[in-house]
């Protein structure tokens, strides 16, 4: 079975500061990796994903994540955050074969202070 651990439940940062949200996973089989974002009072939206190939993946709004197989990590980073990035962020994994259910981490609440 797969599992995901997000190491920080809350991350407060100042506007324009860099941020890293940490995600570690456990799986005995190959996985796909995802970051989802949930803005206040909304459902989840896909932010970025790693399927194969380049280990560094990027979103259109400046976030990036790097797949590190040896450390079983998929940390999310942004060099300069904005107030609009305030949201809850979820890391998730799914198997590459068979039933492709998403297994989510506990979530990290990112709060941006002016």
């Amino acid at each position: 079975a797969q599992s995901v651990t997000q190491l920080d439940s809350q991350v407060p940062v100042f506007e324009e500061a860099p941020v890293e949200l940490r995600c570690n996973y456990s799986s005995s089989v190959s996985v796909y990796l995802f970051w989802y974002v949930q803005y206040p009072n909304q459902g989840l939206q896909l932010l970025l994903k790693y399927l194969s190939g380049s280990t560094l993946v990027k979103s259109i709004n400046g976030f990036e994540a790097e797949f590190n197989k040896s450390q079983t990590s998929f940390h999310l980073r942004k060099p300069s955050v904005h107030i609009s990035d305030t949201a809850e962020y979820f890391c998730a994994v799914s198997k590459t074969q068979g039933a492709q259910k998403l297994v989510f981490g506990q979530g990290t609440r990112l709060t941006i202070n002016p």
Binding site: F34, Q100, G107
Partner: protein, 114 residues
Amino acid sequence: DVKVTQSSRYLVKRTGEKVFLECVQDMDHENMFWYRQDPGLGLRLIYFSYDVKMKEKGDIPEGYSVSREKKERFSLILESASTNQTSMYLCASSLIGSSTYGYTFGSGTRLTVV
């Protein structure tokens, strides 16, 4: 614009009531999922369905059942609501074999059982 629609944004029900949460998708997706979201626990899978009339238990199916009579509609049923089922419920859908695209989520139903 493709979407997953959950029929109610907020619900308040009494202990012991039978509760129906409805979810409809307009994307012709084969897979549909019900998750519950609780602070500090992330999203946990209750049930999923990969075809009409097909269903599989997720990680926390106790106290719940589901119905999928039509491809576009997936209902979550709380047979006898209890206070520990107070939560945010999220429905999602995806294409078969489409981990590459991730899921599309509804906006959620916040259920309070009193």
